[in-house]
Amino acid sequence: MASVKLTKVEKAYGAVKVLHGIDLDIGQGEFIVFVGPSGCGKSTLLRVIAGLEDITGGTLEIDGKVVNSMSPKERGIAMVFQSYALYPHMTVYENMAFGLKLDKSADKSEVEKRVREAARILQIEPYLDRLPKALSGGQRQRVAIGRAITRDPKVFLFDEPLSNLDAALRVATRIEIARLHEKMSDTTMIYVTHDQVEAMTLADKIVVLNKGHVEQVGSPIELYESPDNLFVARFIGSPAMNILPATLSRGEGGTHAKLPGGNSVALPFAIEAGQEGRGHLGVRPEDLSIASGETAPFIGEVTLVEHLGEVTLLYVDLGQGGDEPLVAKLNGSSNVKRGETVKLEARAEALRLFDEDGKAIRPASMRQAA
């Protein structure tokens, strides 16, 4: 019902184009997260959907109706802002009721009922008579969410709602938002963040944006397992996927990727003739482990060791000059020391290939599935 459909949506400020023809299909009740680095256009895209910014090209449909020229209210959306945007001179109750009170269709008892219900869900009932300045950051954000709930929106928009909260509160509020999504299962939610943990944990579907383009749309696991290109590969996952330049060639039983150091790894699927030559090999830090045998594809000197308790991060200089170090994430605490030479290996299935332009090269079976 409350599906959101974007067709070639463009946004330009004068001559500067911020969104370049975004196509997106969002189903009812889905939780969609827009992620991307700062300046990628994710917030602009959200504001375009909200109706706070005009669309300069393409169409936006909500519920199958083109809403390009409709006001935020007519679109049936509600939005939670990064800065909370509460009315500073109104109490919590007034903040939540303000939009409803002026709506002729809702009578007073109905307004009261809705506000109380939202306050109950968010556990802000004790603060209804307080002014926003007497609340903590987390409470303020809950009020902002409550204000959005009372509007009973078709589409619920979040613009980096957790980025002004401290780390502990961020996790707690994140879980609350996930619960809220379960309760309001018919409501479509669109959430903007630059924090990939938020994206991975909350989203049904993640939209990775870069410079006003959609790089990839998919479930969190899809993006993690099978990034479409180098940008998504680097953006999803922490620490980021290691990308090494490689020369790709077809060989017996699969593909060989030759690394600059002379070592070569074999992948268990065949590439096409046109994909031979220069490319990239990607391997996630968590897929690397200390090699058991005499030889290993990744050999280098450890330049830095970070002990995080549950994992140990090794920064390994592969001796290829200039490049970023290879990062390996080992379980538990490792006794590898700085200056030592380590041999690392990864399972063949964990390796990812990209062509020279950064597009993923996938096994034929996966290509068909995608």
């Binding site: 706070l52 006001s71 209210k73 009315y87 303000f98 002026l102 709506d103 300045k133 204000r147």
Partner: protein, 331 residues
Amino acid sequence: MTNVTIGAPPTDKAMAAEKRPATRSKLSRQRLRSAWIFLTPMLIVLALVAGWPLVETIYYSFTNASLSNIAGAEWVGLRNYYEYVDYGDGEGEYFGLFFDSQWWNAVWNTVYYSAISVSIETVLGLVFALVLNAEFKGRSFVRAAVLIPWAIPTIVSAKMWAWMMNDQFGILNDMLMTVGLISAPVAWTANPDTAMWAVIIVDVWKTTPFMALLILAGLQMVPGDVYEAAKIDGIHPVEVFWKVTLPLIRPAILVAVIFRALDALRVFDLIYVLTPNNTDTKTMSVFAQENLFQFDKFAYGSAASTFLFLVIAMITLLYIKVAKLDLGGGR
């Protein structure tokens, strides 16, 4: 923004600090000393230029001082304010400032002028501020242009307007007669019906920019995201103005109004230049100046000045109380 928790139980740290007064007091004594070092020059200057003249004025209001004989002033008690002269035959008369109809006329003129001009300036200033706060081409130019009347010295603008309002050669009469709004020239600054309004018009012209500037500063403090939230809430712009903008800039408006009211209550130069010797526009300050320096009734003028001071002080205190103005800066 800081969150102050009132009545919070003392923390362990604070209790520990209380037990060690020696180290704390040394630091606070040092701070106190530097505060006094910075404050003293200003306090001395204030005492010299504001405190001393005020005390002198109040003192002379209880004497029989005249301009020619200030040094020989003698104490006469309340005689300048209130005196009953018994004519001996059972009849008598009250004298003094409290029974001077000219003085009460001046008080009324002042209050009337202040109330009307400050009200008009507030409304117009708010409109100007809203316009200047909007985004449009050439905004900085308009902002500067609007301030010009405020930048012109009062004497100059009063004289300028006096010429424009001149009954024989004034451009105002010429324009109104050309358009056909009036049939005969009006002596704007002399006519009892128009004199006060002439003064008010010039004052509004001159000080609306000041009002606009102060309110504009208040408008710029309103966070923009609140307006976006209102847009999402689907609130009509007119409603947003009354329910969001106005309450949020209320402190700025209240401060601007008190600034202007204090100025208006002691208005002198504009009236002295634009409508000299006109009882219809004579204000408390003009009354005091006349008695002090023109009528050689220095003591009586001092009494008027003292009374003026009391009236302004009372109106200010009343205003602060009624408007619940927080001059402490707490938000």
